[in-house]
Amino acid sequence: MNSNVLFNTARFILLLAAQILIFNNIQFWGYLNPYPYVLFILLYPVNGNKNSLLAASFLLGLLIDMFTNSGGVHAAASVTLAYVRPAFFRFAFGVSYEYQTIKINDRLTPERFSFILVSVTTHHLILFVLETFRFSFFWNILLRTVFSTLFTIVLCIIIIHLFKPSKR
């Protein structure tokens, strides 16, 4: 339990730092950024405390908002993702997911991939809708959501594979 808290705190700080120092500066094609900090919410233990996940996601989003001058956009998207996460688990792994030992950071299976896909798409859609906040940019929002989602998913999978916990 204690090592779990430690592990998650380290992940929180590392992903926040990586997002601000590296991934916010990629500006692919001039405007596309990946947001792999959502990995914190995806990799949070399935049976962990739900309220602390909500609070941590909010804090993570708010800190990123502070660095990007974007009000509360990331905080809103992250909190929503943290809240609907159990539903996505059910969608991807079946109804009895709580009794299985699901680990997201492991070999890529269709279940894990669909979970990451649904979560990242939801997060990015909320993020870009709130960030733009105008309906006149509808196609722009959709385009950015699609491409940023692809970008983020590729990066997430790479990161998961790079930092796979050593096998006992």
Binding site: L21, G30, L54, M66, T68, N69, G71, G72, A75, Y83
Partner: protein
């Protein structure tokens, strides 16, 4: 009472979610709706400090271009200096009784953003250096933005690449003026709206800041006309302006401190108020 407590405990997850979502949404709406009401911004000790350290590393990669820019600026200023006809008889237009109307504070962009509709920059000087909100920010090529929020050591700037930005601008050759906005699409181009159809314009004309602006001094470069749209319904032109500045690559900037701003604002406010009898 017992039941209320039970309800709260049972639904703590849902209630916490709603609370946090409401906070986040209200911050978002506030950031989108009002001018200068950003509760959290990168003009603080933590974000400013991190960006300053990042900039200390990354500025080495563009030293060559920055030097080139400064050399060009120096050459331009030198040519102005050598070509002024008679320094003894020279009358500076914006000087009254030896009091300068404009002060310039040197600063550096430590964080730049240009990939969202509402872009902000972070500068490494703040209220300790005399920066206040609503000061203009320019560089050697043209205008950059307007100071939004200030902390002791850092300041955030509303870039001209921000769909909330509205800056008074005019044509260099005639004094017809319009409003410079950005449509959120291309980082190289801004839009000039509300230009009267009487104005004689053609592609390539230079746009500069107008005299109506209390933030920028007159005649600071903005860009050249790139495309002209004629709207049949109204008597106004809409123009695409190709910016002089490459907003995606900014280094040193100058913060403009106009001394008359408060006086002008005050007298305009007094005029606008109805006369008391």
């Amino acid at each position: 009472m017992q039941q209320i407590l039970n309800f709260i405990l049972k639904n703590s997850h849902k209630l916490l979610f709603l609370l946090l979502l409401i906070i986040a949404l209200s911050l978002t709406i506030q950031a989108h709706s009002y001018h200068k009401s950003k509760v959290i911004s990168s003009a603080n000790f933590l974000a400013g400090g991190v960006y300053e350290q990042m900039n200390a590393v990354s500025e080495y990669f563009s030293l060559k271009e920055r030097n080139q820019e400064l050399a060009i600026e120096n050459a331009r200023l030198k040519s102005l200096l050598f070509n002024s006809a008679d320094t003894a008889a020279l009358k500076l237009p914006d000087t009254i009784k030896g009091v300068k109307k404009v002060n310039v504070i040197l600063s550096k962009v430590i964080h730049n953003s240009f990939n969202v509709p509402e872009n902000y920059l972070t500068l490494n000087s703040g209220s300790k250096q005399g920066v206040k909100s609503d000061m203009g920010v320019i560089n050697d090529l043209g205008i950059v933005g307007i100071v939004e929020k200030v902390s002791p050591n850092y300041a955030t700037v509303q870039s001209i690449l921000n769909i909330k930005s509205k800056i008074n601008a005019k044509f260099k050759k005639s004094d017809h003026f319009g409003t410079l906005i950005w449509n959120g699409k291309n980082t190289g181009y801004a839009q000039l709206i509300d230009v009267p159809r009487l104005a004689q314009i053609k592609k390539g004309d230079t746009i500069v800041t107008g005299a109506d602006s209390k933030i920028f001094p007159e005649n600071i470069g903005i860009g050249t006309i790139y495309k002209i749209y004629i709207d049949d319904q109204t008597n106004y032109y809409t123009l695409d302006v190709k910016l002089f500045n490459d907003m995606t690559s900014l280094g040193h900037v100058y913060i403009i401190k106009t001394k008359d701003r408060e006086e002008i604002l005050q007298i305009e406010q007094e005029t606008a108020q109805p006369n008391e009898q």
